[in-house]
């Protein structure tokens, strides 16, 4: 096992061997979902706290299922209606939770760097479930697992990430993780949604969708948030979906074995035409299944060991 860390804060600091460890463990654990009794005793007696400052049903549920299938006690703490609303600082909340001896804290927060702050102050392991626009490592890991499953390997593939890269933690984690595994990454979007000096991350940058996806093995579509119109990033959702949305017609000019992926939730008709989301090219639902497996693997690796 290459994995020795107390926390999973991002893809950027991981080595390829560690990523492979997580993917292999997740692949082995997938079978639990097919059993009649979806439970193994591995994390029995361990406590996992989901500390979600941003509302997120799907990621939180995914972590909850993962923990419960491993027999851990999973506690959900969502910021609304809690002491956070009464003005309790992040650190104070974390310290209060630590006083209850959790084994792993899974945290999602709108501020980049919040999980790192917690990891410095908490004795238990911290999993970053999404911090601001910075990283969402379990998403990148489940994306890699899905690609590896469908394509049989990772190295040498071409992946194009389309959309609002500037505000996307999924894009960053995917870029960091995919590059470590030998994937060539292209990002595509209007210049207003591609961050400063993006090519220095080791990716190709394109402002023309058709050219960017022509040779892609995998197309990762990012979600467009409606607020982007207000910041002057795009003129309208309508124009964005016409120029940057993926339709069946545009898909016809791609590789016949191309995979369509999306971190969810999908804005049908904006990033993806409904026919594309439901087409055989789409592996979006596999991503969700693999999400539970990856999160089981992460909880197993962090909660069990006394390492790091």
């Amino acid at each position: 096992m290459a994995w020795k860390r107390k926390d999973l804060l991002g893809m950027q600091e991981l080595e390829a061997a560690e990523i492979t460890d997580v993917l292999d463990t997740a692949a082995s654990m997938k079978e639990i979902a097919t059993r009649e009794i979806k439970k193994v005793p591995t994390l029995r007696g361990k406590t996992v706290v989901n500390l979600f400052y941003e509302s997120s049903t799907r990621t939180r549920t995914s972590f909850e299922i993962a923990g419960k299938w491993l027999s851990a006690d999973v506690i959900n703490f969502s910021a609304s209606g809690s002491s956070a609303e009464k003005g309790e600082s992040l650190l104070d909340t974390a310290r209060n939770i630590e006083a209850m001896s959790p084994d792993v804290v899974v945290v999602r927060h709108k501020a980049s760097g919040a999980p790192a702050l917690l990891a410095r102050h908490l004795r238990c392991g911290v999993v970053n479930a999404g911090d601001g626009a910075h990283e969402h490592p379990t998403q990148a890991l489940l994306d890699l697992l899905t690609i590896r499953e469908k394509k049989g390997h990772l190295e040498g593939l071409n992946v194009t990430i389309v959309g609002d890269v500037t505000h996307s933690r999924v894009a960053r984690s995917d870029i960091f993780g995919m590059r470590k595994m030998g994937i060539t990454v292209t990002v595509a979007g209007p210049p207003t949604l591609i961050p400063a000096q993006c090519q220095e991350l080791g990716v190709k940058v394109s402002h023309r969708l058709e050219e960017a996806i022509a040779h892609a093995d995998v197309i990762m579509m990012l979600r467009l948030q409606h607020e982007r119109m207000e910041g002057g990033f795009i003129p309208s959702i309508r124009e964005y979906s016409r120029v940057w949305g993926l339709s069946l017609a545009k898909l016809e000019r791609c590789r016949p074995d191309v995979l369509i992926m999306h971190p969810g939730p999908v804005n049908r008709g904006v990033e993806l035409a409904p026919e594309v989301a439901d087409s055989p090219y789409s592996v979006i639902l596999d991503q969700v299944t693999n999400g539970v497996a990856v999160r089981m693997a992460v909880l197993y690796l962090l909660a069990g060991s006394k390492g790091a």
Binding site: Q12, S89, L90, L91, H109, A111, S112, G113, A114, A116, L117, D131, G132, A133, H134, E135, R169, R172, P195, A196, Q197, C198, E200, L201
Partner: protein
Amino acid sequence: MSLLIRNGRVVDPAAGSDAVQDVWIAEGRIHKVGKALRPPAGTETVDASGKVVCPGFIDIHTHLREPGFEYTETIASGTRAAAAGGFTAVACMANTFPANDNRAVTDYILARARVEGVVRVYPIGAVTRNLEGKQLAEMAEQAEAGCVAFSDDGKCVMNAALYRRAMEYALPFGVPVISHAEDCHLGHGGAMNEGFVSTELGLSGQPAAAEEVMVARDIILAELTGAHLHIAHISTSGAVRLLRDAKARGVRVTAEVTPHHLLLTDELVRSYDPNCKMAPPLRTKRDVEACLEALVDGTIDCVATDHAPHALSEKEGEFAEAANGVVGLETAVPLLLDRLVRPGVVDLPTLVSRLSTAPARLLNLPGGSLAAGASADITILDLEQPWTVDPAAFRSRSRNTPFTGFTGTGAPWMTLVGGVKVTP
């Protein structure tokens, strides 16, 4: 009351002198500077052998936080921090609470300083009421009360027409208008410098353009009005270029730079430590080099700390939510001596000029000189004194510094105001 400072290396850029001499102080003023002076018997003597004796350093950009934010700093604690840092005078910014936008607050600050302060305090008045950028503050009365400059520092006056009027209105008082150059739209939401680091960290960034756009605008307004414009905390290479061009054209513009913009880059923000967060933010290596070059050649006139105390709760937690600002009075001089003078980037007389002679001239303050008759505001340095930055030992009430744990050699040794020792 007489005092003899004996045998120190006396560096007085205003007089163009740098030699081992004695300084004789009488009744709070410099009586004479020369070799082998013989004051009356019984005169207290300070043996400054091996030390450097300079005109007292002046920090023209400090936030003393009183009235209103005494939980972070007061005139009492802030001036003690200044004295410990080798400063004999500070000019304090107007973003107090209530803001220093009328003479009542100016009078209050000066009264508190008379009673509680240990170094000279020069208030800077607001340009607009409550720093809101909508209506001019009563600058005439403030100037009369003793304000030495006007600034909405902390904020930028976004309305160019209003700022033009402010510069015109301030002209008769003979004091500069100090600009905090930051376009609030371009800089909106930016917690750090926009660049590769902000892209990697997923933190929204403020481009150098946010500062440069306003520096350019303010220079043009200064040209239009003939006002003396002073640029606060300049930080980008583009802004330095604009400054250089303007000076070459003969515009009445001056500028200051902070120690942290001379020594640190945005790479430090990777730690997500809110003690690295300030406005303007830490920039890139190229910007730091441009500022250093400009400080050496005099394009940037002086160093100012932008000492901005904040309570722990304001600087602990998520980076994007933390308040902007770092303290600097107690770290500025040791850092500059060790990181700039020691390796020969700046020679000592030039640094003294940037810390004393220039600030005094810029704000038309008494000080910055060891000429006979000048007030005996003196900073004595020990270039061999080793130090480690330990916020727990600060005289300031606040501890928000990015320099914790830094070590070096060379620090202030004694500070005198009006011939009276205020440290150690």
